[in-house]
Every structure is written in C-alpha cells, then in structure tokens.
C-alpha cells in the first residue's frame, strides 16, 4: 500500500483527527472512525464517541457508495467559490449508514433526484497543509447495463 503521512500518537496509533481524515482523502480513501465500544461510525472523526463517550476507535475504509438525501444549486457563492457558481451541494447517506455533506458533480443534463445512487470521488490536488485539504465529492454511480 502507498505510504500515507498521518499524524500518530506516541504508540503509533493514527490520531482520530479531521486532518487525518482529509489526508486519507488525498490518497483516494474515504475513511470513518469506528467506535470499538458501541460500533458507531463517525465522520468527522472525534476523540470522544458522541454516543458512548469511549475513546477507543479504529479507522475503517468505506465503500464510497451513497444515496442522495438532499441537494441545492448554489447560485450566490462566497468569494473563493464564486467562479464555480452555479454548483451543487448535497447531503448523502453512505452505504454504511452515516451521512456526509459534500459537492455533487454531475453533467448538466442530469436531473438530480433524492434517493439517487452516487459514489465518492476525490480531487486531484495535493494537500498543502492545514486547513487546505484535498476534497472528496460525489458523482453519479455507474449504472451497470444488464
């Protein structure tokens, strides 16, 4: 496996930080934290489980398969995004059950609908340090022809 630079604690465990989440994204991996006590999946990663208050976690890779929960076309954007407007934002439900926000990038002729199948994709950009992280986004899942 490709070597990923991650922040680790003194015992070598990967720290449950947002920066590490995005570093995984920079290497094409959508990762969640799984609470060892109560099995809750977390994105963003946290140091204390919001369900059971445990601090024992492991990182697991998600499939990236998702269904669209809601979406909006942004026409008036903040300065750093205004050149991209209109663009689509959304909240998706990942196959593993947790939800995530992100950009939805589809062809202009695609009619978006709640419940649509999506799959995660990652920007090509290289991380240039906190907090300029490589982003994930969602695109249409490939329909397999019968």
């Amino acid at each position: 496996m490709e070597e990923i630079t991650l922040d680790r604690d003194e015992t070598g465990e990967i720290l449950p930080t947002i920066q590490n989440f995005y570093r995984f994204c920079g290497h094409g991996r959508l990762m969640a934290l799984k609470c060892i006590e109560c099995e809750k999946l977390l994105i963003p990663p946290r140091i204390i489980c919001p369900k059971c208050s445990s601090s024992r976690f492991k990182w697991i890779q998600l499939s990236g398969k998702a269904k669209l929960r809601t979406f909006s076309f942004i026409h008036i954007a903040p300065k750093q995004f205004s050149s991209q407007a209109p663009y689509i934002i959304g909240i998706v439900k990942l196959e593993e059950g947790l939800s995530l926000s992100g950009r939805i990038i589809v062809d202009k002729n695609v009619k978006l609908e709640i419940g649509m199948d999506l799959i995660v994709e990652f920007e090509d950009t290289v991380s240039v340090g906190w907090p300029q992280w490589p982003r994930y986004y969602f695109k249409l899942a490939k329909v397999i022809e019968q």
Binding site: I18, Y22, I43, P44, R69, T70, F71, S72, F73, I74, H75, I76, A77, P78, K79, F81, S82, Q84, Y87, I89, G90, I91, S99, L100, S101, G102, R103, I114, P131, W133, R135, Y137
Partner: protein
C-alpha cells in the same frame, strides 16, 4: 423548581434597521440604548444598570472585537461589567437568557441586554462568507456550502417529505413584508406580491431571493430587572415566564431528520414547561425567519401546527396579524432586517411593544402572552422565551 416570573422587562430600544451608512456598530447601539433610557424616566442608567450583556457575531466586519466594554462605554455605562456573547444569529437571544440568569442569581438587580451588528458596508460575497462561519468549517464551508445553501437543503428535504411548496414559502415572505410595511423601523417597508417572490432569482435552489432575510445593520436592547422591582421603573412591565435553550450538531449532515430543528423543539419545550404555557396560549410570536423555510419549520417545531403542516398554516391566514397565532408582526428578519447579533433581542423588543399595546398599525388585539424563538446557525443553537403581561 425555579420561581417565576424569571425577570421583568421595564424598557426596550431598537435602532432603525437597514443600511445605516456612516454609523459604526457602537454608534448604532447607542440609538437603541437611548430609546430604552428615554422611555424609562425612573431609571438612572449610571446608578441603576449594573451590567451589559451584548450579542455580536462578526467582529471581522468592522475589524473590532471586545465589543462588550466598548459599547458599554459608548452608552455611558462604564465601568459596569460588560460581556459579548457570540452564538451566531442567536447571540442576543443567548445574552437575554444569561441576563435572566444574572438577575435570578441575585448578582444584579438591573442589567441591560442587547445586540448589535454592522454588515451592510461589506460586499455581498464577504457578508455571505462571514455568515457561513456559523456552519461547520471543515465539512460545510470548505466544500462551498453557503448559509442559504444549508437552509435550501432543509427546504428540499421538507418539500420531499411533506409536499411543501415554493408557493407556501413565498406566502411567508408576502406576509412578513406586509407586516414590515407597518413597521417604521423595518429595513424594507414595502409589500411584495406572491408572483414577485416566486419569480425572484434563485439564490440556492429551491430558495429564491425573497425566501432570504436581509443583510442589515442594527441594534436592539431591553432593560431587565427583578419582578419585584419592575413597578419602580415602569407601570407596564412585561414578565419573562419561561426560558429554554438547546444545542445541536454544528454540521447539518450529522442529523437524522433534516425536516425538523431538534434544538428548537427542545428549547420551546423547556420554555413552555417553565412558564406553564402551551402553544395554544400564545397570542403573538416572533420566530427566526432567516429564511422562509425556517419560519415554516419553527412554526411546526414550537407546536403551532402538526409536523409537516407549516405550509398549510401560513396559507390559512392563521399567522397573519389578525389570525389565531400571528407570527412575525414586526416583519421578521425577512422584512424588518437581520442584524445578526441584534436579532434575538429585537424579537423581545417586538413582544414588549405588542404586550404593552405600543405596536401601532401592527398591534395584535389583546395580546397578553408572547413567544420568541431565536435560532443560531442552521439550528445548532435555539433559544425560546415566553412572556406575559401579568405576574
């Protein structure tokens, strides 16, 4: 068991809301404070007022932090303790609740609570960016989520789940602009038509320009005291009977239900429980219509109608000034304006006017019980208060 009433409001002030060119935040607040002082001749501000709690969100707008003592000095309250509260759009709602706690604790007998914001000198894209600060930086802002965008996500989910329509949302805008046309301090004192609202340009689909509140300058304040001291300062005080506040996730995506604002339901529940009031007892309400969908969902979550019926509620006319449960008689954030830090206490100001019969052309007949619901961000904070004319 907390003894009631929690506190009394003996005076209140509001600056004009709108584009107040040439005035800085500290100066704008002075106009609100001056109204409150002038309306309360029995109050000696220097002698009686023992603190200032100030809601203020965007220090970057004027490149000015530390606004608590700054504003206290500008209104002649120096050297009383002065504290700035920042809970996004709920900043002064939270300041009000903390002011009540200061009174209840016995630390002070009289305190001024208010809020201020100065935003209209900014470019729209800068203002949009500052207001988005109340959303999750790393998972929302970083991906280009705007504030209208987040409420658009909520609106789309509500439309999908309950068949809520753009026309129902526009009806809220039309109502609130009508109310604002009757409020001399409102930023936009003009009526709009349903067609105008429904054909205005899309900001973040499905929300259009007229679904969004305004970018505003303005300030608000109230003078709080112990109930037993109220009559010393005013013949017609109003009383705060219940207070509730709750929090929710900073990221919208972490919520299982996108059609409801859980913190709103919890804050309202606690305020009702403390006051002994129920939704049907409320004569007039000011709720946080930062977007039309917010008013619609809050009207459901505070119990004015069944979940999913918020659209039907506004279309029935029940939330108009002469309806069963008038909502946002001031014009709301939509038409009166939304100087973020001032908004929570501006709601209390409107209830003060309504319950003391001073609301002029927008007066609700026989208003005796009022409710305010102030939202921070996309519901990461909610603050509810219940007010009455009698102890």
């Amino acid at each position: 068991m907390i003894e009631k009433p929690l506190a009394a409001i003996v005076s209140a002030g509001l600056s004009k809301f709108g584009k107040l060119d040439g005035f800085s935040a500290r100066e704008i607040f002075t106009y609100a404070a001056k109204e409150a002082f002038d309306k309360c001749p029995n109050l000696d501000p220097r002698k009686d007022v023992k603190g200032l709690y100030l809601g203020h969100m965007t220090e970057s707008a004027e490149h000015q932090g530390h606004t608590g003592p700054l504003v206290a000095d500008w209104i002649g309250l120096n050297p009383v303790p002065a504290v700035r509260f920042e809970n996004a759009c709920a900043s002064s709602g939270v300041a009000l609740r903390c002011g009540i706690q200061a009174i209840k604790s016995g630390f002070v007998d009289v305190i001024m609570v208010g809020g201020v914001e100065k935003l209209t000198h900014l470019a729209t894209s800068d203002a949009t960016e500052y207001l988005a600060l109340s959303a999750d930086n790393f998972f929302e802002q970083w991906h280009g989520f705007t504030f209208p965008g987040l409420f658009a996500l909520i609106a789309r989910a509500h439309m999908h789940e309950y068949d809520t329509t753009g026309e129902q949302l526009a009806t809220i805008a039309v109502k609130n602009h009508h109310n604002g046309s009757l409020n001399p301090k409102a930023q936009m004192q003009k009526e709009i038509t349903l067609e105008q609202a429904m054909t205005s340009r899309v900001v973040a689909s499905p929300l259009r320009l007229f679904d969004c509140s305004l970018i505003s300058d303005g300030a608000s304040c109230v003078i709080l005291t112990k109930p037993e001291l109220a009559k010393r300062f005013s013949d017609t005080p109003i009383y705060i009977q219940g207070s509730g506040q709750a929090s929710d996730t900073i990221g919208l995506y972490e919520r299982d239900d996108l059609t409801s604002l859980n913190a709103v339901a919890l804050a309202a529940r606690d305020a009702y429980e403390m006051s002994g009031m129920k939704p049907k007892d409320i004569d007039v309400a000011e709720v946080h219509d930062c977007f039309t969908i917010a008013e619609l969902i809050i009207s459901e979550d505070v119990g004015f109608c069944k979940k999913g019926d918020g659209g039907k509620l506004v279309q029935s006319g029940d939330t108009a000034i002469d309806g069963n449960i008038p909502i946002n008689t001031s014009g709301g954030l939509k038409s009166k304006g939304h100087p973020v830090g001032a908004t929570g206490v501006a709601q209390a100001y409107e209830i003060f006017l309504q319950l003391t019969g001073q609301a002029g052309a927008r007066q609700v007949n026989d208003a005796e019980i009022g409710l305010t619901l102030n939202l921070g961000g996309h519901g990461s904070t909610a603050v509810a208060h219940v007010y009455s004319t009698t102890i």
